[in-house]
Symmetry: C2
Subunit: 196 residues, 2 copies
Amino acid sequence: MGRWEPDSKGRLQAAALELFVEHGYEQTTVADIAARSGVTERTFFRYFADKREVLFEGTAVLQATVVEHIASAAMDLTALEIVGEAMAATGEIIGQRREYSQLRQTAIAANASLQERELLKLAALAAAAAHALRDRGVGEPTASLAAEAGVAVFKIGFERWIADEPTGSGEPVDIPSSLGDSIRSALLTLRSIAAA
Amino acid sequence: MGRWEPDSKGRLQAAALELFVEHGYEQTTVADIAARSGVTERTFFRYFADKREVLFEGTAVLQATVVEHIASAAMDLTALEIVGEAMAATGEIIGQRREYSQLRQTAIAANASLQERELLKLAALAAAAAHALRDRGVGEPTASLAAEAGVAVFKIGFERWIADEPTGSGEPVDIPSSLGDSIRSALLTLRSIAAA
DNA sequence: TCATCCATGTCAGAAGATGACATCACGCTA
DNA sequence: TAGCGTGATGTCATCTTCTGACATGGATGA
């Protein structure tokens, strides 16, 4: 057995989410998170640049997935179709962990500074998507606008998917639509709005 | 003469922008800003909830203007047309202070935590726009999507307007397009993207 | 003239964040 | 198997942001 318990980072992430949901983000100190994880405060800040970042580990993977989908999309699609489908396809992956997504989103929704961080990550996602489009030869401002629209569609699709089926007791009456489908539906709505 | 120099708040805002541009946001402490303004640190935090907020006083007015435009728009327009024109009209106002806008944007572009705050303000703007649309009878998700699209168009239009004419010396060769027109142009591009 | 108001100052302290240095199990190599 | 380097973690000190409690003293109006 090692000198310390393994996976400090994972324990910190789990403890943070629990505490944020239980007591709220501001009421939870980094010392609390560290204590529950059996490490010191200093160790927390070695793994995460700041207190918020502990909830945003996954966004790098998400962004990479979106970029890959854009890079490998069929050539006969429009910029918006490419980004929209990349978002939807990525949504299929995230959508597999509905419960976790919901807990995390609850914590974020309850605190403005977590929302700020989330918005920054989404802005980075939009920038990366725009870059990936440009690499395919899409010009500006088309690339940036399509990327922003894609992120908007992701946001709305995600919101509605989370709100869809409350975590309450009782049997699910309907199978909730997948996150990917929710995003695709938002894309269709956006296109009809713009077409009118 | 009063006991103190008048307009502490204004002095703090001016000093903060100067110092952020001169030395950067992180290198500037609240104590620095307060000292240059001839007040104490504590006074800074009486006027501004946190260090970032000193750059975001104007966004409340901006939001109110957008909401008014949406509320008073003609009845025969689509949701996207309404939001787009509200953004463009508001842009005409902001566009009057190009130099200030540029300095402020320079400071924000150089620091992630200022970008976070800006994104939060834009998200609030989107939420307010969506609310104003709903008050006109626009349903969901149309209202939210049109609002997000409107903010995207504002962002891109603003970016391109700022980048348009560098602040260099020499005579301006072309009259730079107005911010409002830049936003209208972004809206047209978005619609053509979505239509394809 | 006096009361009271209010912008600002003073002081103390919690929490977030960071640099410098210490510790010590583990595994490699001689 | 003795010794050595490595890397994850601990310890300590310090700075900055932000907040609460209370003090001060010109301005204002009864």
